[in-house]
C-alpha cells in the first residue's frame, strides 16, 4: 500500500493536530475584517476610561486631595486612579473582541467552523483570535498612556514598564475571555459576563484602596484578575515597585495559559469531534 505522503512539517505529530503554526493567517483575517467594520465602534471603547479619568480624577480628585497607595506612598487622586483605568482600558479592549465578537463568530457566522475545515488547527484559531483581542487592548492602553502623560499622571520613569505590563493584562483577559465565551450558548449567558465585569471594575482598588473593606472581601477582590492588573500598573506609574509585582505577573501568566488551553480544547470539542 502506497500511503499518500503528508506535506512535510517539523512539528511533532500529536501537536500537529492542534497547531499548524499559522496563527498569523487568523490575525491577518481579523485585521482585514476590522478595516471594513465601523471605525467608530472600534474606537468608542477607548473613551470610557478616559471619561472616568476626566470626571473622577480631575473633578472628584479636587475634593479628595491625595491617597496612599498600597506601598504607603501619598499620590494625587488623579495619579492614583489613572493607572487603574489604564489596566481597565487594556481589559476592555481585550474583552470586547474575545467575548461578544467571539460569541457571534462561534454561534452565528460559523467563522471558526469554516477555519477548522482548512489545515488550521484549534490552537491556531485560539492564538490568532487572542492576539487580535490583545492588540485592541494594547491600542486602547497606549492611547490612554498618552493621555496620562499629557496630564502629568506618570510619576516615575518606570511608567515605561507599564507598556509591557499592559500587554500582559490584555493577553490574560483576551485568552480567559475567549475560553469562557466558548461555553456560552445564549445572549442571557453572555450577560453574566457583564454581571461580573462591572463590580470587578468598581471594586478592584480602582478608585480607592481596598483596605476600606473587611478582610474576607479583600481576599475575594485579590483573587480576581483586575486587582492584580491595577496594582501592577500602579507600581509602574508611581515608581513604587515591590516584590508583589512578581505575584501579579505570575497571576497573569497562569491566566494566559489557562485561557489558551481552555479555548483550544473547546474549539476542538465543538468543531472537530
Amino acid at each position: 500500500m502506497t500511503a499518500t505522503q503528508a506535506p512535510g512539517t517539523g512539528i511533532r505529530r500529536p501537536a500537529r493536530a492542534l497547531y499548524a503554526g499559522n496563527a498569523r493567517a487568523v490575525v491577518a483575517r481579523g485585521l482585514l475584517a476590522t478595516r471594513s467594520s465601523n471605525l467608530l465602534v472600534v474606537v468608542s471603547g477607548f473613551f470610557e476610561p478616559v471619561f472616568y479619568l476626566l470626571s473622577l480624577g480631575i473633578g472628584f480628585g479636587a475634593l479628595v486631595g491625595t491617597v496612599a497607595t498600597s506601598t504607603g506612598q501619598e499620590v494625587p487622586y488623579a495619579a492614583y486612579i489613572a493607572p487603574a483605568l489604564l489596566a481597565v482600558s487594556a481589559m476592555n479592549g481585550a474583552i470586547y473582541d474575545s467575548t461578544w465578537n467571539a460569541f457571534f463568530k462561534l454561534n452565528y457566522s460559523k467563522l471558526y467552523q469554516g477555519m477548522l475545515t482548512t489545515s488550521l488547527g484549534p490552537l491556531d484559531v485560539a492564538l490568532g483570535e487572542i492576539l487580535l483581542a490583545l492588540l485592541r487592548g494594547a491600542m486602547y492602553a497606549v492611547g490612554f498612556m498618552v493621555v496620562m502623560q499629557v496630564l502629568g499622571l506618570n510619576l516615575s520613569w518606570t511608567a515605561l514598564l507599564a507598556l509591557p505590563a499592559v500587554l500582559l493584562i490584555a493577553f490574560g483577559f483576551a485568552s480567559l475571555g475567549l475560553g469562557i465565551t466558548s461555553f456560552m450558548k445564549t445572549f442571557q449567558q453572555m450577560d453574566w459576563i457583564s454581571f461580573v465585569m462591572l463590580p470587578m471594575f468598581l471594586f478592584s482598588a480602582t478608585f480607592y484602596p481596598i483596605t476600606v473593606y473587611p478582610e474576607p472581601i479583600q481576599w475575594l477582590i485579590q483573587a480576581l484578575p483586575l486587582w492584580h492588573g491595577v496594582e501592577l500598573i500602579r507600581a509602574m506609574t508611581t515608581g513604587a515597585i515591590s516584590g508583589m509585582v512578581l505575584v501579579h505577573i505570575g497571576y497573569y501568566l497562569v491566566m494566559i495559559v489557562v485561557g489558551v488551553v481552555l479555548t483550544t480544547r473547546r474549539l476542538r470539542a465543538l468543531f472537530l469531534a
Partner: protein, 308 residues
C-alpha cells in the same frame, strides 16, 4: 484499479443512543464523481463530516488519501475542498478577500493565492463582483463563491454537501455546469443530495443511503435497471378512489406502487399499460408516462419517497 482516495469499512458514528451512520462500506476512486443519495436525516452529512476529517468516527475504518483522519486531520484537510450545506462565507470580508484569506488558512504564499483567486473568480463567473460584499450576492452566487473558495488549495477531493439545496432552477443549472467542468478536469467529487436529478447528472456512481445504512450501490443507470423498470405510468383517480382503483389494477405492469395521491405502474411499456387500464373500464383523471428515475429506485428500496 488505481488506489482509492477514500476507503470506508463498517464506518459508524454514534451520538449517545442515536446511530447516525450504521456501518457503511464504500470506496471512491481518483477522478470519480461519487454520490450519497438519501432523504434528510439519512446520515449523509455526518458521513461527509467524517470524510472531511472534522468529525471523529465511533466505529469502523476510514482512510482518506491513505491517511487515518484520527491521526492526520490537518494533513487530510489541507488536501480537501469543502462546500458545506450552509454557506459559511466570511460576511465581514469582500468577495475576493474571502478567497485570499481562505488561501492563507492553508499557509499558501500570497502570490500563488492571488493568481488562483483571479482564475477562480472567472471560473465561478464572479469576476465582476470581486469587490462586492458577500451579503449582496444572490444565493446562487454565494454557492459558487463557496465552491471557488473550496478550490483555492487545489484539493485532491472536493466534498459537496447538498450543493444546490435552496437554489432556484436556473441557479442550479449554472452550478451543475460548473461542477460538470470540474469533473471533466478530473477533480474527484463526493457529493450528497436528496435530488435524484442532481445525482443522475453529476454522479458516476452512487450509494443510496437510508437510516445510516447503504441500501444499494451502482451507477444511476445500473441502479434504475436493477431496481426499477424502464418506464413508469403514473395514474391518478382522485384521493378517495385511489385504493379502490389499485385493487382492480392488480396484475397490470411488473409492479404497482400505491401512493396517497397516485398509483405508479412499473413496466417496460407505459403506453401499453395505460391501454389495458382503459380496457378495464377505469378512467384515470390524469395519466403520465415517464422514464424510471432514482426516485423510483429509492421508493422500491425503502418504501418511502426521497422528499417528504
Amino acid at each position: 484499479m488505481p488506489e482509492p482516495v477514500i476507503t470506508a469499512r463498517q464506518l459508524s458514528k454514534q451520538y449517545g443512543d442515536f446511530t447516525a451512520v450504521d456501518g457503511i462500506d464504500f470506496d471512491v476512486a481518483p477522478g470519480e464523481s461519487f454520490g450519497l443519495l438519501g432523504p434528510n436525516g439519512a446520515g449523509k452529512s455526518t458521513t461527509m463530516r467524517m470524510v472531511g476529517a472534522v468529525s471523529t468516527r465511533t466505529g469502523g475504518e476510514l482512510r482518506i488519501l491513505g491517511l487515518d483522519p484520527d491521526k492526520h486531520g490537518p494533513d487530510i484537510r489541507s488536501q480537501l475542498g469543502v462546500v458545506p450545506q450552509q454557506d459559511n462565507l466570511d460576511q465581514e470580508l469582500r468577495v475576493r478577500d474571502n478567497l485570499l484569506v481562505y488561501g492563507r488558512y492553508f499557509g499558501l504564499p500570497r502570490g500563488v493565492i492571488a493568481e488562483r483567486a483571479d482564475a477562480l473568480l472567472e471560473f465561478a463567473q464572479l469576476a465582476d463582483r470581486a469587490k462586492a460584499k458577500v451579503d449582496d450576492l444572490s444565493g446562487g452566487m454565494k454557492r459558487r463563491l463557496t465552491i471557488a473558495r473550496a478550490l483555492i488549495n487545489e484539493p485532491r477531493i472536493l466534498l459537496l454537501d447538498e450543493p444546490t439545496t435552496g437554489l432556484d432552477p436556473q441557479a442550479r443549472h449554472i452550478l451543475w455546469d460548473r461542477l460538470f467542468r470540474l469533473k471533466e478536469q478530473g477533480t474527484t467529487l463526493v457529493l450528497t443530495t436528496h435530488y435524484m436529478d442532481e445525482a443522475e447528472q453529476l454522479c458516476d456512481r452512487l450509494v443510496v443511503v437510508d437510516k445510516g445504512r447503504i441500501m444499494a450501490e451502482g451507477s444511476p443507470a445500473a441502479l434504475i435497471r436493477e431496481y426499477s423498470s424502464r418506464e413508469v405510468l403514473e395514474v391518478r383517480f382522485g384521493s378517495d378512489k385511489n385504493a379502490e382503483a389499485a385493487e382492480r389494477l392488480q396484475g397490470i405492469g411488473d409492479r404497482l406502487e400505491v401512493l396517497p395521491d397516485r398509483i405508479l405502474v412499473y413496466s417496460e411499456n407505459g403506453e401499453a399499460e395505460l391501454e389495458r387500464i382503459t380496457q378495464l373500464g377505469l378512467e384515470p383523471i390524469t395519466s403520465l408516462v415517464r422514464r424510471s428515475s432514482l426516485e423510483d429506485v429509492f421508493l422500491r428500496l425503502t418504501g418511502r419517497s426521497l422528499i417528504e
